[in-house]
Symmetry: C2
Subunit: 385 residues, 2 copies
Amino acid sequence: MTSTPLGDALSRLNTPTLLLDRARMRGNLQRMANHIRNLDCVLRPHVKTHKSKDVLAEVAAAGNVIGITVSTLHEAEYFFENGQKDILYAVSITPNKVEIAATLIKRGCALTVVADNIAMAELVAARAWELGVVLPILIELDVDGHRSGVDPQGEDLLPLARAIAAADGALLKGVMTHAGESYACPTLEDIKAHANLERDRTVMAADRIRADGVECPVVSIGSTPTAVMAENLDGITEIRPGVYTFFDLFQAGLGVAKVDDIALSVLTTVIGHQPAKGWVIVDAGWMAMSRDRGTEKQAVDQGYGLVCDLDGAPLGDVIVGAANQEHGVLMARDGAPALDIKAFPVGAMLRILPNHACATAGQYDIYNVIDGEQLTGEWERTNRW
Amino acid sequence: MTSTPLGDALSRLNTPTLLLDRARMRGNLQRMANHIRNLDCVLRPHVKTHKSKDVLAEVAAAGNVIGITVSTLHEAEYFFENGQKDILYAVSITPNKVEIAATLIKRGCALTVVADNIAMAELVAARAWELGVVLPILIELDVDGHRSGVDPQGEDLLPLARAIAAADGALLKGVMTHAGESYACPTLEDIKAHANLERDRTVMAADRIRADGVECPVVSIGSTPTAVMAENLDGITEIRPGVYTFFDLFQAGLGVAKVDDIALSVLTTVIGHQPAKGWVIVDAGWMAMSRDRGTEKQAVDQGYGLVCDLDGAPLGDVIVGAANQEHGVLMARDGAPALDIKAFPVGAMLRILPNHACATAGQYDIYNVIDGEQLTGEWERTNRW
């Protein structure tokens, strides 16, 4: 299919395996770093997308980063052991996790956690106090009905702030939110409006807490769509996008990235055909792509992924239209002409762009890194809890 | 929530984590072993569901097992290194994987591979010959239009059999199929009919090859639904179910298992509530459950999983109705009364039954094993390729 040095190097890899295009990733990281700097704000990037110290080194190199955001305490332990000291654990902590958090704090980690209700805040503060530490806490706000969080305009906010400020084992550091409903915005104008809503409601919550006489230094927001579309971050002290590191088909479908920005792909090999159906079977099924079908409800349904040649160029309307555990079925998108299966001989290798970078990367322990025309080696990734 | 010894032990685990009920698994394994023995046939169980030497020891202890089926060569290496010598790799092999297969064969592994077209069979046979081994090959049949395989009634079968028999680096061992469309059967009677179709078409293909003067000793079929519903396996030399080891909500939805047979669950902790919506938020999102929504098109949609108390008893109509990466949203099934969120205080622990055991288990590296009222320890699991 190809005779480039990169193609030759890729053809020696076992499939399926995960590829990371370093130049694309660097472009994504630099654009975001510059954009947020231009808005006089700083990044606390979410590392749940990549879970890799090697990727984090690139994130840091792009600049304008004051710490990281993690989705699990396992990530916090991993990144702390790899030199990262300022860490926000952005999923509500539970009593059975306080000991892990306390151990990190005692080892010197500036770990902050989140809570959205008095019962949990008091439980975890009491447990922290028992263990001899004080937990820095951000109040999680629900700005758009997405999932967790307290209403920034509601009556539960100030009692929660006072309870955290008053608890022996807790320190109120501020407020945070994740405007997850930005993922459901139909147009870029809607995302822009959602970014304003995320900022305004979060700043309002901080102002209410301050007017109540409680300190609220941190005002933290973030999702990739709202970060990309933000035009004004006045009052915000940090922003926490994550998937912008790699981007994916879902973000391209939202319009906040181009398909050519997507830095992750899955390398696969053609294993057979069903000529009567116009199907090409490859060795990347849902275990290799993840079960994420996030583009299903977007204007362009990408199946389980968009198929590219070995150099990464998309092949028009060829998608992974169906998937079993270790089998992917390439087919033409609905309405497009059937595949010319002769163009996909057995043994040929292809690349597949993922719907959702976090989910697909979660199926692997390593990244095969491509830098320009070279396959430069493997970067590690950590998973689990 | 509970004061049983098991509940106390579970409450000390970090969440989310994967639980395996050994007694339920043993029941599943023994019923299948007896059922297939009663049909005068033997099992070559698929290990892709569990990927664990410890689980395989239980599979073997249930008896009537002549070898294993794997979905990746990584599984083949892992199980060979753990004492398993007779292994069928049931996904079409590719030229870039022959070296791994050849190495296993040279180390003494009785490894068999599959192929469904002459081009691939000749490519891999040539590569094997170059590497100094002969590859035992089963021809993969397409009995129900599910994905890969050659038509058992079509004109491509005999030329493929002759080509494999004639190739220096290959040895034709027989035929195999996977009746994957059994997963789409609406009733048990349909699955029974599908089991007959799987058997009849596979035996017919073997008979055609033999009538053509080529040996065809192995006649291999298998899917969990058709294995459970099989009434007659005349002419079949082995059957390869996998997910019956653990079962899951999808199989229960098909009717080939009871919910009480499901041996896997995810342990989770309540992290908060959205009282106005009747939502309970837990720390098991789609990273913990997988993105599999296989029950979505069944009569009963189980969301991302069915919620149970800490002892494993289902809580009626409570499901994981929505999921983010690390957040699960418990809600009442459509049409059922809203949750009484006071019954789910923050910090409470619950168990969630999975839609698809293969996908959910794939999100973990270990099983926390429950035996009766004891938490007996961790069993390992291998992932990747």
